[in-house]
């Protein structure tokens, strides 16, 4: 009397099926979480569009982010900086998003922008060194000029930093204390 392999595996079928469904479910769940619920594309207090400013109107990055080449922080422009242009631009007080900006200006409040690109407190990062070394903004921040709402493209993780330092052969670029503090 003989017994087939499929017959022998019959008791294991149900657990195996459950296992496969669970694994697929985990992957789908992670994907859904990553796509729809991640903090990579937070909703900002004003629907500011980099596409309109940087691409359509061709404003250079460092016109607004003025500290990028001389400070650790690139700098978020002040409301005054925004209003400097928007009082002069013809349709300044017509569009709803610009009206929001004008509201902040009238109340003399800073705009509570949500930070998209952040590194932990134990990381020493300076925009200055990177900008002066000729790294383009888009290499880390992605095609910002094509984004309406800013999305974080880069993973901002240590291997991501180290890979670039290795590729470009940065002097002492792989020493821990170059970036850690």
């Amino acid at each position: 009397m003989s017994i087939s392999v499929s017959e022998a595996l019959r008791p294991a079928r149900k657990p195996a099926l459950i296992g496969v469904v669970a694994v697929v479910g985990i992957f789908v769940g992670v994907w859904i979480n990553d796509t729809y619920f991640s903090d990579r594309t937070p909703v900002q207090p004003i629907e500011f569009s980099h596409r309109v400013h940087a691409s359509d109107n061709e404003i250079p990055c460092q016109y607004c982010h003025i500290y990028a080449s001389r400070s650790p922080s690139a700098g978020v422009p002040s409301v005054a900086k925004c209003m400097g242009c928007h009082t002069a631009v013809a349709d300044a007080r017509e569009r709803p998003e610009v009206l929001k900006l004008a509201g902040y200006w009238d109340r003399q409040e800073p705009i509570p922008w949500v930070k998209v690109h952040d590194v932990p407190d134990f990381v020493h990062f300076t925009h200055k060194r990177h900008v002066l070394a000729g790294v383009q903004c888009q290499e880390c921040h992605g095609p910002v000029q094509d984004m309406d709402r800013i999305t974080r493209i880069a993973p901002m993780t240590m291997p991501w930093c180290v890979d670039c330092h290795t590729e470009r052969e940065v002097e002492n670029g792989r020493d821990c204390w170059t970036c850690h503090k």
Binding site: H124, R129, W177
Partner: protein, 257 residues
């Protein structure tokens, strides 16, 4: 049948791997000299270090448990019998040994020797086995037994260039590596590759009222520290352990000798 093992190759490998940090030559070799003849034991360096490097005030109880954290401390040595006693001070800080025993001990390579001859500690990587503190003959490694907090508004005075350490992490003197990094940064802005002598001043050296300490690159023969360290009074603490410290003390001279 196995061929004979080439022992010379093995020894070469052993020598290579047992060298902390894998550097034969250092880019800079940061060195400190401390003139004990000038040290008055005022502890200004201790306070300066505390302010610069976000060291916690552990409090009386923790201090009694010998869990204080001071990257530099003033050790007192009494000489002679009462009433004919003399008091000697030795500021003791991480010696940044070129053959550091602590570096060989760390299971996760949280402490290592970098290209500037600094014995460095990566807080994120540290898992708190405290082996390094056991191996350190100078007892200058400090363990965070607790997460210390700063009451408002004292947290505003924390140095943003130095991370605030948490519970379970070993820490020690870094020769104010954030200032070294800043000096290198400024040098790059000026289009220089090298930092000039005197541009890097750690907090303790800066605060010393009698200028007993000096700090610089001993690879540069013209630097102040290179000249001071060749003094006939110069010695290294526990030199016989072959740790090759980067801190050179200048002996105190007694007038009655």
């Amino acid at each position: 049948m196995r061929s004979e093992v080439d022992m010379s190759n093995v020894l070469d490998k052993l020598r290579e791997y047992s060298k902390p940090g894998y550097y034969d030559e250092f880019d800079y070799h940061w060195t400190m000299t401390i003139d004990l003849d000038r040290c008055t034991g005022c502890e200004a360096c201790v306070v300066a270090c505390q302010a610069e490097n976000n060291l916690p005030i552990v409090g009386e109880e923790r201090y009694a448990e010998a869990r204080e954290i001071k990257w530099i401390r003033i050790e007192r040595y009494w000489e002679g019998e009462f009433p004919d006693v003399k008091l000697n001070f030795i500021p003791m800080l991480c010696q940044h040994c070129d053959e550091a025993p602590c570096e060989t001990a760390c299971p996760v390579f949280a402490t290592y020797h970098n290209q500037d001859g600094l014995n460095t500690q990566i807080y994120n990587r540290c898992i708190g086995t405290r082996t390094c503190a056991v191996y350190c003959p100078y007892e200058v490694r400090y363990f965070n037994w607790f997460t210390y907090t700063w009451d408002e508004p004292l947290e505003q005075q924390l140095n943003p260039d130095v991370s605030v350490r948490e519970k379970g992490v070993m820490e020690k003197c870094t020769f104010c590596i954030q200032r070294i990094r800043m000096a290198k940064d400024n040098a790059k802005d000026d289009g220089r590759r090298r930092v000039r002598d005197g541009e890097v001043v750690p907090a303790c050296v800066q605060s010393c009222p009698t200028e007993a300490m000096s700090f610089g690159d001993s690879n540069d023969p013209d630097s102040k520290v290179s000249q001071v360290m060749n003094s006939p009074r110069g010695y290294k603490v526990l030199e016989e352990l072959n740790t090759v410290p980067s801190v050179i003390y200048l002996k105190k001279v007694h007038d009655d000798v």
